[in-house]
Symmetry: C2
Subunit: 499 residues, 2 copies
């Protein structure tokens, strides 16, 4: 492709309303907020469904759904009010605002911990100017990324939109552990929105101010970080890592990650392996993914060990999941600030559990899946664009179409559609335009299969099933559809296996 | 029951972490925000799944997922900055804040439109004092319920958390209509959070500041409000209404609602019927529900016609869904303020579509379903509490238990559990405590069935299935479970029909 893949995807996203800027009829000044249309919402829901099944339910974890607005004290305890900052510089001429670290670039290895005067020093030394007007830049300030709110009518209660979904999990840990009678280790999961007042949102849905996350916090006894009953299931699984000390990716078994002391213990290796399996299952090829070991300087303020799960795209490596060993940082902070006992008793010993976090971005996962799935091909000499999404991540497993809108075909197709809905299959109905155009449209948005009711359907009680990638067609009986689509969507069968 | 049902439910909700105050370890000052635990989240997801299938997908509507933070201009256009207020009075002695309409009570028929000096007049005339300290009340002020935010680093961009989810739908209407090639009438749906800075949150999850909604906006040509192709399917369905002019509920067919001009047209009657069918399907008995006709004075500022869908509980009639005929109010406002053409062309005529809104509260739906399902019974002489939720709304269709945690039963039960998960059935696993205690626990949180792997299981390849309400047990083959649970959860079969 001559155009960069990210640009082709952006064109497609806008043209088919997969995702698009929020409140766009009011112009572009209010950036960093995006809406998902019909297909984007469907893919988002597919991603969350898969996460829930593979990483939450199978592990026996507890999913909760907490408030997005939390009182100020929570963020005193969590350290966000003090530490959740980006370095901000303002141009003295045009008053434009910039992130000092972005202006300086990656080669300086600037991190969350870099003091503001270090930025000023570097800006002066390297004669960095305002990128808009070449004006002189002012002093670097810390800019807190949280969004504050006044709650209640008094104006005295300060709240914040959560900057990460996990704080509810820490706040509820003790209640959940007691009322659900849970022994360590166990995980609490949550999916939902969080909010960060980014100085300069960019790259469509990659750097945004309102973010969808899927988070899991695993609570455990630090003395038992190597007691993971299911570790055997993954011990020989090759985790693709990019170590701090190495220049390239390598594949190391979970067992070896532990024995070579590259991770704090089996628990960490276990979840890295599970996460890689999950993303491979969503269709990301192994050679496009890695866990990048996060250096001490670069780690968030609460983390003792960090592995960023990244995927390679046309925009470079994109971080999809932050995996952090947060120790007892969060629970200790909340215990102290709220004067609550958050200790657990095990083997006659009382302690605050440690936490391993798997914090995944839904928006970024969606972006990466779409970009990697984007394909160009030709059909009957004409160019065609299609999204080669796996049946698991396709917005719909099938579109249901009447060949024409008469002679009972429309009614028959609708009947098939409604029956498939009853079987909780992700399908949609379209009766508009020529069948060729409908095929082209579903190809573009990644629907895995098309089902067409034609003039023979009323006689042979069958429809044509068409595969998106090969554009091949077969004839299948209507009554076999629920089971067939079920098996196709769970990848228990493939199109070529259909007889 | 001696205790009020709402109190029994609150006890249960806290004891089993169904729902509970957010950030509760930091005390109660920050009220109106609630978290959902494992079971609450599961029921919430069941409700949303049912809504998506029955009211969105079956109707062929478009679901979107938009940003919660929107720019100020949106709420200038929508009228919320001017009109979305509650009357606030402050005590001159203790400085306590109160809603003037709540202090005065229902008999005064105060509405959104009542001017503030009318409140002052009534407070003086009826000698209303501060309910906390009997102090003198100050003048009534309008208090805007929206929560404002500063966006970006300049501090000059003002945003608001949306007070209703529908604004994204109006903002995206034109884009969706064009890119999805939709003819009128069609609906856009959205589920998500919205935020209202209630002066006095109360009644647990009924009057809160962070709300989950499920909204549908149906766009139509006002000249064709009576052209609804599927109207026949509901024309004889009895809608239970409480007319403004009448003192009690009556059941009137959709057809008669139209012919007697009790609604603006067939479109309104159609969706009222569909909504009632949906809630009946969730298990709400007909005699407990009604559409209350909303009087002109009481209607929100944007509505021409309104029907509040209400359900009777121990706390009185609770509004679950606001059904409003919003005319072209919203699209016209946004067209004007954003200088965008939001007109549609049909039959050579250009016009701004009208909107009928079906705005449902998820939290309130959950509350009402749980309260109505709350039952007390006796089992072997002992009292038992159970939630008689329908299979559709139960947090899980089944719990999977090993009778004991040895002799391979735990492994077998886990295997059954994972296989059921693969079939996308809502199940959970519990191996803790005696089997009797596990049954009591699932009864309390409304799990529909229990599956127990016992010593015979390894021989006869079958498990015991136990029904929550009757506590009866039967033996079923493991291999028949996926289909059986599927049919039970979609109510295609019942426990008594199992052979």
């Amino acid at each position: 492709m001559v155009q960069k893949k990210s640009e082709v995807l952006m064109d497609l996203a806008l043209r088919r309303s997969i995702f698009f800027p929020s409140a766009e009829i009011y112009g572009e000044s209010f950036s960093g907020f995006w809406d998902y249309g019909f297909y984007g919402t469907a893919v988002k829901n597919r991603i969350i469904d898969s996460w829930r099944k593979d990483l939450v339910e199978k592990e026996g974890f507890i999913e909760i759904d907490g408030a997005q607005v939390l009182p100020e004290k929570v963020f005193v305890a969590s350290g966000h009010l003090e530490n959740f900052n980006d370095p901000l510089v303002q141009c003295s001429k045009c008053h434009g605002l910039h992130r000092a670290d972005s202006l300086l670039g990656a080669e300086f290895e600037l991190t969350e911990g870099t003091p503001t005067d270090r930025f000023d020093e570097l800006i002066e030394k390297h004669k960095i100017q305002c990128p808009k007007c070449k004006g002189k830049l002012g002093k670097t300030k810390k800019f807190n990324l949280m969004m504050g709110l006044d709650i209640g009518a008094t104006g005295k209660l300060k709240g914040y939109l959560r900057p990460e979904t996990c704080q509810n999990i820490f706040l509820n840990f003790s209640r959940i552990q007691k009322t659900m009678r849970k022994n360590l280790p166990f995980g609490i999961a949550q999916t939902g929105k969080c909010f960060r007042n980014e100085i300069a949102p960019r790259n469509s849905i990659l750097r945004i101010r309102e973010i969808s996350q899927m988070e899991i916090e695993v609570f455990f006894n630090p003395d038992k970080i190597n007691e993971i009953p299911n570790f055997k299931e993954v011990e020989n699984f090759k985790v693709r890592v990019r170590l701090n000390t190495k220049k390239k990716e390598e594949e190391i078994s979970a067992k070896d990650l532990v024995s070579k002391k590259l991770v704090s213990g089996k628990l960490v290796a276990y979840y890295l392996a599970r996460l890689q399996q999950f993303y491979q299952g969503l269709g990301i090829p192994t050679e496009k993914l890695r866990f990048r070991e996060v250096s001490e300087e670069e780690r968030p303020f609460y983390a003792k060990e960090g592995w960023d799960f990244e995927v390679e795209t046309s925009l470079g490596w994109i971080e999809l999941v932050a995996n952090n060993y947060r120790t007892d940082y969060d629970l200790s902070g909340h215990a102290k600030t709220s004067s609550t006992n958050l200790k657990v008793k095990e083997d006659e010993k009382e302690f605050i559990p440690h936490v391993f976090e798997i914090s995944a971005g839904v928006d970024r996962t969606l972006y990466v899946l779409l970009e990697l799935a984007l394909k160009e091909g030709t059909k009957k000499g004409e160019k065609r664009l299609f999204l080669s999404l796996t049946p698991k991540t396709a917005p719909f497993i099938a579109g249901v179409f009447p060949l024409v809108n008469k002679d009972g075909l429309d009614k028959k197709a609708k009947e098939i559609y409604e029956n498939l809905l009853e079987h909780k299959l992700s399908v949609f109905f379209d009766a508009k335009g020529s069948i060729g155009k409908r095929y082209a449209r579903v190809d573009e948005i990644g629907v895995a299969f098309s089902l067409t009711a034609d003039f023979d359907t009323l006689k042979d009680k069958a429809v044509t099933i068409r595969e998106r990638d090969s554009t091949e067609q077969k004839r299948v009986l209507i009554k076999s559809l629920p089971e067939l689509l079920w098996k196709l969507s769970t990848e228990q069968t493939t199109f070529t296996q259909i007889k």
